[in-house]
Symmetry: D2
Subunit: 299 residues, 4 copies
């Protein structure tokens, strides 16, 4: 199966070899777009898609995502980035410039429930997630067969309350060794330490099996059933050290009725979790998300 | 406008003159449906629609809604109800038998925001809510012009924390005088006293402007905006003395994005509130809802 | 009621007095955004929201919508427009610059079914449609009471196959007299002549009561019912001389089931028609729509 | 992986060993439910879930689905069926009595696109589709690795216009040898002959990649893109000899926008196809579907 994926990734990289992407957040003022677009024009770059948004009535912030095509990009990546520093400083920008052909290296953390990792692997295999899945880490063995059938390294690190520090030290070494840029918690049922989270800001995506902020915490389906809700949902978010409080990336809901008991809700919920998580990961990989405090802007 | 509604209601009553509806909740056991259906057959009643559901794995409850057509119904309503008592006792049923041609008498309580009452009035006028709207009560004058244009009595009862008791005494007298069977809180921004609520069990429907149990309490859109959710929702429920905790009848959600500020969310929310409330009222009027503890079964 | 609306419109105009909006379509090439944004910067304009899209792999077209705030706008509207001509010519743009404070003048055409016009009037009254509704034309009297309760002129022009030409002559005179900029067919059951349509390019919005292109033509709910579909829908589109084939602006669907007969489908359909039409009109009024051949781009 | 599935199926069969399901369609008249429920009561059967519906205003048909629990079922299956014949005759019923513990034997037909078969296999593996998948037939080799990883026999039968007769003869022999009861066309891109279809009435489920009846026929996404629709959909239906005209089981739609080109639509469409097909197959396996002419009633 892996051969297909490699071929798709190669094609994608070749097609995108001149593509760049700018993500910017800064205080709003006139002239920002004029400066950026003149800069890009100097490199003969063509803007393919741009989305911009200003919260002028609140904090006065400016957000933009620009995807551009630049014929000389392969030879000038570093120069373009360096020269952009001037504009970035002038407007006090938080920014990054990424290149779609540098596909992101991703690791999946998983426990015993496999529906989310399966969805990611199959979206990946279908060419719908352009990423290198370089490593899967689990505190159980359940996912091994599936993961290894994709020729992806699978590392089993048993976890418990007592050994959390050791587990994370091991995980961090692996993440570094594999140069991982995005960690996806695909129903990974362990709480990460503050140190781990802080080491990976806006780089850990979690799927929570409820429509947050309803049913924050454990056993959301049980509580949804007890409350008698008519819709259940799922939420993907970046992980911060406020449990279940990180910036929400995507949410969705589906209808349930009185015939759906807790198991029925879990089944329906699995399909929401799958699609919500897959969409979030896709947007992150395409550099469509800007984090603004505890919110996300998805362009 | 009222003449159209009267004509529609008259036609509806004539078409439904042989129609009855049974709503039952009882402990589950074999033979219940056999008994009910034999009973109805004795009256030559034809079952038009029936939905049944048993929670056999939990509390072992049995729920059924049967709508039937009985040629001799107009002359035998009381006899049929009386004779059903035997079956009801045998199976320890909580039950009611209603007759669609006895359209329910409804009162709407409203404050300053009119979108929900407007929706109800127009669904009513379009023939989509078969009810007599006999009275509108408000703590403000804003709805008067709209309500009176439908020839519906409008009573303004100013409300404050201090006079709550007097207000409710006045309201209760009016509800009794108008023989009101259903109270709809269409964004009525006053909290009802326990006595008022207990006097109207499962007869007060409220619309809450959030996807409960998220954002229980006041100012849900403000808090939804602060939390950065990607969907907002509304919830209709029967009012109990646990604030925002009554049995949920219906919920729905709609997508918002970063461009929607609090005002934008409120606008989107209004359209959800309108449709969620209208559906709930419709189901209640059609006797499709059975309350089971803190949940509803909507057949 | 009208006084509220006038107050809201006045506030809106004052708040937006410095606001401008550019809608552009042209062949794609590098430098377009740089030119536009430098131009705006010269007027010290701040870009509030911009969305851009290029179909570079197909026709190579470039589309952009820019909303900007310019302190000197009230005194320089004409100068800005005139001076933009140079850029427009250089890049072969089809373009328009509009000013939100010049709210559009709108006319509604309606026949006997009132749910769509009601929705528009109430969205308008709630401050959700910033427009002057200056005229309602109908081939029936049904909407008169409703329309006149909003102090909007209502003109009854009986229509038949024989007098279509006279009817339209009358209509066109009225549209001119009232300086109408947008015509909304809110379930207007007459076919317009090619001359009328050509005189109003991309200025007539119709609501079709099916999920086009399914059930093109008459009686879509009857045919949907016969076909046994599980969702029904509605479609709003600009009117062209290809019946039901104009550029689609918005669509939506809702679930139906076997219990919904044709009348039930019509009731459900009405609520889809209402919201789909209202959203389309809102987007048109906010200048969010660019027509591209037989498609729309909604920014 | 197969061992898990076998365990789940065994548990399911044991839990459902006393379960029966009646699906009935007949002309409407009083007394039907009384007769059925008395019959079941004689066997001490408890009705778990029943749904009934009458089209009394049209064809006067009566439809019911009853799921029941009968302690003596395992020893009396044949007797119960035989004795039900009396009631069935009296009311001119088309009927079937099925037993959930006799899980249905299913075959999947597939071509080169694997997303639908993958979804079915993973829903199956997760315990969400209670069936024996006994055989996969394909005109290509693409699905072999996936299918064989589940220990399911995979048979490659190359197909072309010329050899259609031979192909189907081969297929029919296999279906008989494997005692297949349900055929799912999971994006199988071959047209079946009338003889094949007639031999499998209401036993072949197809997924069509459009919101039928829009875009009947080939290349629906291309045509949806050309038409500029704002939602795309998928439709599952029983296969009849009217191409794309069989009774619709389920449909769903998702939103697309101007940024989605044909490939983007196909990607979005894949996720709709997957869920729509999986839901249909689930409902068929649970005997929730009654075919009524060219429509389905899904209880």
């Amino acid at each position: 199966m892996t051969r297909d994926i490699d071929t798709q990734l190669q094609q994608y990289k070749i097609q995108r070899k001149n593509r760049g992407c700018l993500l910017i957040r800064c205080p709003d003022q006139p002239g920002i777009i004029a400066s950026i677009s003149r800069f890009l024009f100097q490199y003969n770059a063509n803007i393919i898609e741009s989305s911009q948004y200003s919260t002028n009535h609140e904090s006065g912030n400016f957000f933009i995502r620009i995807e551009f095509d630049c014929p000389s990009l392969p030879d000038q990546k570093e120069e373009i980035k360096t020269r952009f520093l001037g504009i970035a400083e002038k407007f006090s920008m938080e920014w990054k410039m990424t290149f779609p052909s540098d596909v992101k290296r991703m690791s999946i953390f998983v426990s015993k429930e496999l529906h989310c990792i399966r969805e990611l692997l199959f979206e990946w295999q279908s060419g719908d997630l352009m990423t290198d899945i370089v490593l899967v880490i689990s505190n159980h063995e359940d996912a091994r067969e599936l993961v290894e059938s994709f020729d992806i390294p699978f590392v089993h690190i048993p976890a418990s309350r007592e050994n959390r520090q050791d587990v994370e030290t091991h995980q961090m070494k692996l993440l570094e060794a594999y140069a991982v840029e995005l960690i996806v918690l695909a129903r990974y049922m362990q709480i990460l330490t503050p140190a781990f989270v802080e080491a990976n800001p806006n780089r850990i995506i979690n799927i929570h099996h409820s429509f947050l902020p309803a049913f924050v915490g454990a056993r959301p389906y049980d509580r949804a059933y007890q409350r008698g809700v008519k819709l259940i949902g799922a939420t993907s978010h970046y992980v911060t050290n406020d449990l279940d409080e990180g910036p929400i990336i995507e949410q969705d809901t589906m209808r349930v009725d009185h015939r759906d008991n807790i198991d029925g809700m879990k089944k329906i919920g699995r399909s929401i979790e799958r699609s919500v998580l897959a969409r979030s990961v896709k947007w992150h990989l395409e550099d469509r998300i800007i984090v603004d405090g505890n919110k996300t802007i998805v362009f």
